[in-house]
């Protein structure tokens, strides 16, 4: 059943790991080349030179660069992220608290995107060149061109400010006085996630559609589609069962591009909605030069992207029986 050989998987894992190492090195260099350092915010007029020196020693800034680099590389791979100078707590705690929240928002947006996008793309690709296709395609491109945060503001304005239906900040109701049963928590989170999720998904499904539409159009010329049509199967069956399945392959390839786009969207949208996830942390920690936190946040997002790439690659084999990785094909 498994079409993926252990050798292929091993090779992919090694390459992914090496990619991660390079990304980490790049991060180290980039984040440290930003002007200023977090020490700056800790220095007060009462401190004299020796105090500042002690401060630098505490945070390991007096060590030579290569030493810091090696420490960073080793510590990160053993899961020791150090302490955050601005949050005053272990970086790992910050990340582990916020990562699942980003994953919830981001994951549900990803799912919505990859249900709506390919469906619309399938429809438009099948009817390519018709008036319906042209008008829907044009309007979805216009939607794709909206700045995510602006759209989010419009949603907050309409659904929170004017209609008062949905909350617009945080993941939970703060200081809520209702019973904290599982159900009420779920309902509360669903209410809070609705607007940010809608803001991200409203724009980002177009990315998946853009890939699905030409792919669908390409397979309409294939013999097996004609065969299915000749067999007298209904239009819908041919479209969904025969054509769409094969058109999904390039969509899976391009999912990673959509992923990056989605991540950008969620960084901005998290900021608009004060969603307590990684996207918010990453922006504020970069701006306050909090090296430990920003490195760790970048690191986690990079891990997320790399893992997702691996998963999409493996997903191919299940979509397309013709693809066989690493076997003796």
């Amino acid at each position: 059943m498994t079409r993926i050989s252990a050798r292929y998987l091993g090779k992919r894992l090694v390459v992914s790991y090496l990619t991660l190492l390079v990304i980490m090195s790049l991060l180290f260099v980039l984040i440290r080349s930003m002007p200023g350092s977090f020490i700056g915010s800790m220095i007060t007029p009462e401190l004299d030179q020796s105090d500042i020196k002690r401060l630098r020693e505490t945070w390991g800034l007096n060590e030579p660069m290569w030493r810091q680099y090696i420490d960073f590389m080793i510590n990160y791979q053993t899961g020791q992220f150090g302490r955050s100078p601005t949050y005053k707590e272990p970086v790992w705690d910050i990340i582990i608290r916020r990562f699942p929240r980003t994953l919830v928002l981001f994951g549900s947006a990803f799912i919505v995107q990859f249900i709506v996008g390919p469906l619309v793309g399938m429809y438009l690709g099948w009817w390519r060149g018709t008036r319906k296709d042209k008008s829907i395609f044009t309007s979805s491109l216009a939607v794709y061109s909206m700045p995510a945060f602006w759209l989010a503001w419009l949603f907050i304005w309409l659904f929170n400010y004017e209609l008062g239906w949905l909350p617009s900040t945080y993941m939970f109701t703060k200081f809520a006085n209702f019973e904290w049963t599982t159900l009420s928590i779920i309902v509360d989170v669903l209410k809070h996630i609705a607007l940010p999720l809608f803001s991200i998904a409203f724009v980002s499904w177009v990315g998946a559609m853009l890939v699905m539409r030409p792919a669908m159009n390409n397979v309409t010329g294939e013999d097996y589609v004609f065969l299915a049509q000749a067999k007298g199967l209904s239009e819908r069956t041919v479209m969904i069962k025969h054509a769409a399945r094969n058109a999904l392959i390039p969509v899976a390839t391009q999912a990673i591009v959509g992923l990056a786009f989605l991540l950008d969207g969620s960084v901005i949208v998290e900021n608009v909605f004060s969603w307590p996830g990684l996207g918010q942390v990453i922006v504020s920690s970069v701006l306050s030069r909090d090296y430990p936190v920003s490195q760790a946040a970048f690191f986690m997002l990079a891990v997320l992207i790399i893992v997702m790439r691996l998963v999409t690659d493996i997903a191919y084999t299940y979509l397309d029986p013709r693809i066989k990785f690493g076997g003796d094909s």
Binding site: G129, M146, I268
Partner: protein, 321 residues
């Protein structure tokens, strides 16, 4: 002597005409096909409007950039009542003319919007062009030397760049280099050539198997000649499609950076207008200030997408079924 050079010139012009005629013909045919796409024409129309705004802002804007509401009627000083009415909703006639209202400083929104068109176009074209200048040659090289160490190296670089989240990475780059429009454009170019490179590589991989490339190789053409004379002209249309998409993405990225407070505050851009609403807390109180900049960003980005995707249809016509 002089007649000789004249005839020489004439013949040169003739041969130039000869050489360019097929290209002009091809361009005209392409243009004819392009104008059949309503979407692309719409994109061009929007772009032309914005280009006119950028070139002649004084013609389209009701006021100059220095204009402030009420200053004409009450030089130098506002009454408390007037100051309270800022940002002022759209008003026609007395005491001032502001078709789209004003912001909290009393600047006309329409004036600001028109004057910001040049910024958006500059960022779009510059960033799109730059990322094509990086992505297309790398894609060509990578595709031409497919499955060698050169290709492998470039692809690994692409992999690494994909692992970095685009927007936060852009923030770091801008923080390192300083927040100016030029640096924002450079940052966008550095982070957005990837898609370009991958698609051009794929196209090159399939093109280099074509018979005309084979025959050029047999005829002893050098690698550079094959790449630039035989393969590049065929990927250029695709490169233009991606240039347009990159331009749109760049405009959106700049707006996002502005939202996060990373914009050149001495410039005047639509993203910055939106950032000003947020920082002054008028997001839900001044719809006349909130809507126009967002719509403009959307329109210009959409125009780039429209033109890009119509061009894709022109260069890669699908059979009508």
């Amino acid at each position: 002597m002089s007649t000789e050079t004249e005839t020489e010139n004439a013949s040169q012009i003739d041969s130039l005409k000869e050489r360019w005629r097929p290209r002009i013909e091809r361009f005209r045919r392409g243009w004819d096909r392009f104008t059949q796409e309503k979407m692309g024409v719409l994109g061009i129309v929007i772009m032309v409007v914005f280009i006119f705004w950028a070139l002649f802002p004084d013609v389209f804007a009701p006021h100059s950039m220095e204009w402030r509401a009420y200053l004409g009627t009450e030089p130098g000083r506002l009454t408390a009542e007037q100051a309270d009415s800022l940002p002022h909703p759209p008003a026609f006639g007395d005491p001032f003319f502001a078709p789209l209202g004003t912001n909290y400083l009393g600047q006309g929104i329409l004036t600001l919007v028109v004057h910001a068109a040049d910024d958006a176009l500059y960022i779009g074209f510059a960033a799109g062009l730059l990322s094509s200048l990086v992505g297309v040659p790398l894609g060509l090289i990578s595709g031409f030397y497919g499955n060698t160490w050169i290709d492998e190296t470039i692809q690994r670089v692409v992999d690494v760049m994909y692992g970095l989240p685009f927007l936060p990475f852009l923030i770091v780059l801008v923080a390192i280099r300083g927040i100016t429009t030029t640096n924002i454009i450079l940052g966008i170019a550095v982070t957005s050539w990837l898609n370009n490179c991958i698609v051009i590589r794929g196209e090159t991989l399939s093109l280099k198997e074509r018979s005309y490339v084979e025959s050029a190789k047999v005829a002893g053409a050098s690698d550079t000649r094959i790449v630039f004379r035989h393969i590049m002209p065929n990927v250029l249309p695709l490169a233009f499609v991606f240039l347009a998409q990159d331009a749109a993405a760049a405009i959106l990225a700049q707006a996002s950076l502005a939202y996060l407070g990373l914009a050149d505050f001495t410039a005047n851009s639509w993203g910055l207008m939106l950032q000003n609403i947020k920082s002054n807390g008028y997001v839900f109180d001044a719809w006349w200030w909130l809507i126009p900049p967002g719509v403009c960003i959307m329109l210009i980005a959409a125009a780039f997408y429209f033109v890009g995707f119509s061009m894709e249809d022109v260069t890669n016509p699908q059979e009508e079924s």
